[in-house]
Amino acid sequence: MSSFGFHLAFWLLAAMTVGGASMIIVSRNLIHAVIYLVISMLGVAGLYLTLSADFIAVVQVLIYVGAISVLMLFAIMLTPRAERNNTETSLKLPAAAVMVLILTATVFVALDTDWGAVRQAALADQARLIGQSLIREYVLPFEIGAVLLTAALVGAIALARHDDEDAAIHAQSLQAEADGTAEDVALLTDPPLVEVEADAGAGEDGGS
């Protein structure tokens, strides 16, 4: 695989992937960061195509670009403006150090090892083959995956559901925090101390 077109595709997609990922670090706006993440994901999808994994590439676009990024945008939009910055914590330097370590180690391993790699023939009709192996050899993992997804679904709904009582408690703890008595937050969840605010949950969830 040394044709010019292939080279062009690989380096463009690699630049897209790495560039997108780096821009996530640089950008200060969380929504921009999500859009850079999408660029990076699309680059990875393209790289899958260069590896002749077309089914995985389409799934990548479907899941990451179509669903996960949208979910992230949703999560961002559900938090107020003040929370939409994308700055770094004080762990910036240690993280960078560890990153460089990992990078050197893995790249060294990747380049130094003799993988004895030969390009395999691409699978024809991958979707069918993957589907067949999913319900033959991998039927147990497949079922476990299904259960996991269901559990995740139920868990996410249970977590994100809006509870009126909780809301009252949270309002209290917030108030405490604003008053500067944030140390008592744990105590406030104790029932006797809670004076339920009448209109704490006035909003109600509006469908969805």
């Binding site: 044709s3 010019f4 077109g5 292939f6 062009l8 706006n29 929504i31 921009h32 859009i35 999408v38 077309d54 089914f55 389409v58 799934v59 676009v61 479907l62 670009v65 179509g66 669903a67 990024s69 949208v70 979910l71 945008l73 949703f74 939009m77 009709d125 991958q126 979707a127 069918r128 509006g206 469908g207 969805s208």
Partner: protein
């Protein structure tokens, strides 16, 4: 076959029944002397140019058609001033849009604000790639074509979000969030509706599905009417068309995500929206109405004309619903999606799987088995629709009871006082 010898023109570049011939000849010619990447680039370019050449003029005509048809629904004349029968009205509109000043809100996120009108074209054009215009006529006949269609149409919503969010306008943001919420919800019934076809025909290639219909002499709307209905409704939701046009609900949030776009930027959004409507109509025609195939007529008439005719029929249906129905509210749309469409399509996936298994394992004669299955499925669909109607009605009954809709009363002041005193108000 026919009166004159078709074999003479078959495969020649001027054979208008298969528009691929020309590009095939060109790539073969390039392959003779050029590197292989050049020929693939040229093929890609030719394909996209071909698609653009089809969509561009078609869109201009479609604007006219849509306005004219809607006008007829509304007992108006529609555009009839510019050009014969008003046919040049879209051109005049386009010129107006190009000449208009392009405003951008000062507080807009500049980069993200300018990108969406261009980016929105990417999924809008990519979808065309897997649409088969004929037996061998698609830009890329992927073996995961159905998945590709879903993946690409799913990315469009991200662009809408970018447009709505970057405008820094509350209407636009509302529109964007509605679009996002609706799009990810309606993708589920869309996937499930297509899954029935994929399960039953055993292929994920779009052309493969058409060929299956051709082979079995049946169109999928007869076999899986509920999937067709679900797909139609989900598509009209994804396309932001009435009754599901909540993301650009004119009476509520002005123009939704493209509120702040003026001039040709708005024009691009509008064009892509129409283009998407066209391509989704074409896909509905392909998946459920047999695409380029029509019981042998495709031997006589160019396949793409058959597809175009079917697309036109579906498109007319979309205009019809748009001209007739009011808009649903977002929570109603969501509950319709999750409580009605998703379970129904899910059940039909199971039905399709069972029928497919029976067909394969029992070795039944498809000419007999398929009509029986069609009858069963149509009955199931009718049952499901009636069940839904009953549930919807019971929901309606749960709302405040109403004996008669409006009573006529012959009452003057006295009657009013009586009601007022019963109500506890008044004097």
């Amino acid at each position: 076959m026919s009166g004159f010898d078709l074999a003479v023109v078959l495969g020649a570049w001027y054979d208008f029944r298969d528009l691929n011939n020309l590009s095939r000849l060109i790539t073969e010619w390039i392959a003779d002397w050029g590197p292989d990447w050049l020929s693939s680039i040229v093929t890609g370019l030719l394909g996209s140019l071909g698609i653009l050449a089809v969509i561009g003029p078609t869109l201009l005509v479609l604007i006219w058609v849509e306005r004219k048809v809607i006008a007829r629904f509304q007992q108006r004349y529609g555009p009839n001033r510019v050009g014969p029968k008003g046919l040049l009205q879209p051109v005049a509109d386009a010129i107006k849009l190009i000449l208009k000043e392009q405003l951008a809100p000062r507080a807009a996120d500049k980069l993200i604000f300018f990108l969406p009108p261009v980016l929105i074209f990417v999924p809008g054009l990519l979808i065309w790639g897997v649409l088969p215009f004929g037996p061998r006529m698609s830009v890329a006949d992927l073996n995961v074509g159905v998945l590709f269609l879903l993946a690409v149409s799913g990315t469009g919503v991200l662009v809408l979000f970018m447009a709505g969010w970057s405008s820094n306008n509350k209407y636009a943001l509302f529109g964007a969030m509605r679009a996002v919420a609706m799009s990810i919800s309606y993708e589920v019934p869309m996937v499930l509706a297509l899954l029935t076809l994929v399960v039953f025909s055993g292929t994920m290639s779009v052309n493969g599905i058409v060929e299956w219909q051709q082979q079995e002499d049946v169109i999928f709307i007869l076999l899986f009417p509920l999937s067709a209905i679900a797909f139609f409704f989900a598509a009209s939701a994804e396309l932001n068309r009435t009754p599901a046009d909540i993301s650009e609900a004119e009476s509520e949030i002005v123009a939704g995500y493209h509120t702040e776009y003026s001039g040709m930027r708005f024009g691009l959004f509008y064009a892509v929206e129409l283009g998407n409507t066209l391509v989704i109509s074409a896909f509905i025609a392909t998946f459920f109405l047999g695409g380029w195939w029509l019981w042998g007529l495709d031997q006589w008439v160019p396949s793409w004309i058959i597809l175009l005719a079917k697309t036109g029929a579906v498109y007319f249906l979309l205009i019809w619903t748009r001209g007739t129905l009011p808009r649903l509210r977002i929570d109603q749309l969501m509950s319709f999606c999750w409580k009605a469409l998703v379970p129904a399509t899910l059940i039909f996936v199971a039905v399709a799987a069972v029928e497919r298994t029976l067909l394969v394992t029992q070795g039944w004669d498809t000419t007999i088995a398929l009509p029986i299955m069609a009858v069963i499925n149509i009955a199931l669909t009718l049952g499901a629709v009636m069940l839904f109607a009953r549930l919807a009605r019971s929901e309606r009954l749960r709302r405040p009871a109403r004996t008669t809709l409006v009573r006529d009363r012959v009452g003057g002041l006295a009657a009013a006082r009586e009601v007022a005193s019963q109500a506890g108000g008044g004097d």
